[in-house]
Subunit: 201 residues, 2 copies
């Protein structure tokens, strides 16, 4: 802010909040003012919650999920099907599948996709541990739930190659018309895939 | 999140972040994941900055601005014109005028607008203190920089009535075409006001 109208503690809060995804400088200022106005109801609890999260958050050494326990609640849950591992790029994808109640299985978080241009090779992703887990005879299926992007598909192909020789079924998410989607607004590739994979009505 | 996938400390952070203006449940989850991934670079400094702001923030007893000192840096600045008080609804408006370098004067933050429907009367706003400040002979002009909304204008009229009998000029912001604005997209009221207030070229 020009001319430093607010004190340094306020300016610093604005600067740090502006680094959150979805918040720019303008909305960071608005958020900061909101926090200042609700000091006791919001600023104090949020400061405390961040402190607590800082101490509690762990990365699951089995699957790469973030949680407050290691192994994470999903890996430790005996009610989940141990024969299926769903491979996702990021924890946000894991959360999305869980919100959708898509499957009651275990996950494996890659931590990104292969991207030679960005210098991200197989060694930078959580792939070796996946191959190790897949070798467990209890595991029967690996679902490659990566994004339908070039990088996601490249990564899926690489993983499939790595799983060669292991007795495990490899599957991927179906392509098709999104629920509620209008054909007129869909791209040609999705429409063609939905037609190829048409199912009995 | 359905089924509590993440630990309670993570869930709590999502819930609190979702209460910030501009962040919904979805973006609060994304922000939380971002914070967790950047624990040392962002989560820790942000927790610390919130703690510091919590201790440092004061409301200026003179003008109602928020800052880390009381009187605030603007009220304490000897370089500002002491004869002009700019009346704004909210601290965010004060910040906006300061960013624009609109004027080098002092401010008075009302803390809202008159709104009988919401039960907000003159006693709920910082108006009595404004009248007191206006009575200081050093003050020559009160600029009513309230929003051009019905509530803002009602509040401006009420304040003008209260200032009756005090030797002070009362002005308001000009209406007109926004800089860079296209006539075709402007409402009729703004266009008519801009025409009425046309200036020599």
């Amino acid at each position: 802010m020009a001319g430093r109208v607010a004190g340094p503690e306020i300016e610093r809060l604005i600067q740090l909040l502006a680094r959150l995804p979805g918040l720019g400088p303008r909305s960071a200022r608005r958020a900061t003012l909101h926090l200042i106005k609700k000091k006791e109801q919001l600023l104090a609890p949020l400061a405390e919650a961040m402190r607590a999260a800082l101490d509690a958050v762990r990365v699951c050494t089995t699957c790469g999920n973030v949680d407050t326990t290691d192994p994470c609640a999903i890996c430790a849950d005996p009610g989940r099907d141990p024969s299926v591992i769903v491979v996702v790029e990021d924890v946000s994808d894991l959360w999305a599948l869980e919100r959708a109640h898509a499957i009651s299985a275990r996950y494996h978080v890659l931590g990104g996709t292969l991207s030679p241009l960005d210098g991200i090779g197989p060694g930078d992703l959580n792939i070796a541990a996946l191959v190790e887990r897949a070798a467990d005879p209890a595991v029967r299926e690996i679902v490659l739930a990566v994004n339908a992007t070039v990088e996601g598909q490249t990564t899926a192909h690489y993983i499939t190659d790595q799983l060669e020789g292991i007795e495990v079924r490899v599957s991927r998410l179906a392509h098709g018309v999104p629920v509620g989607g209008e054909l007129d607004y869909l791209d040609d590739g999705t429409l063609a895939a939905a037609m190829r994979s048409r199912t009995p009505f």
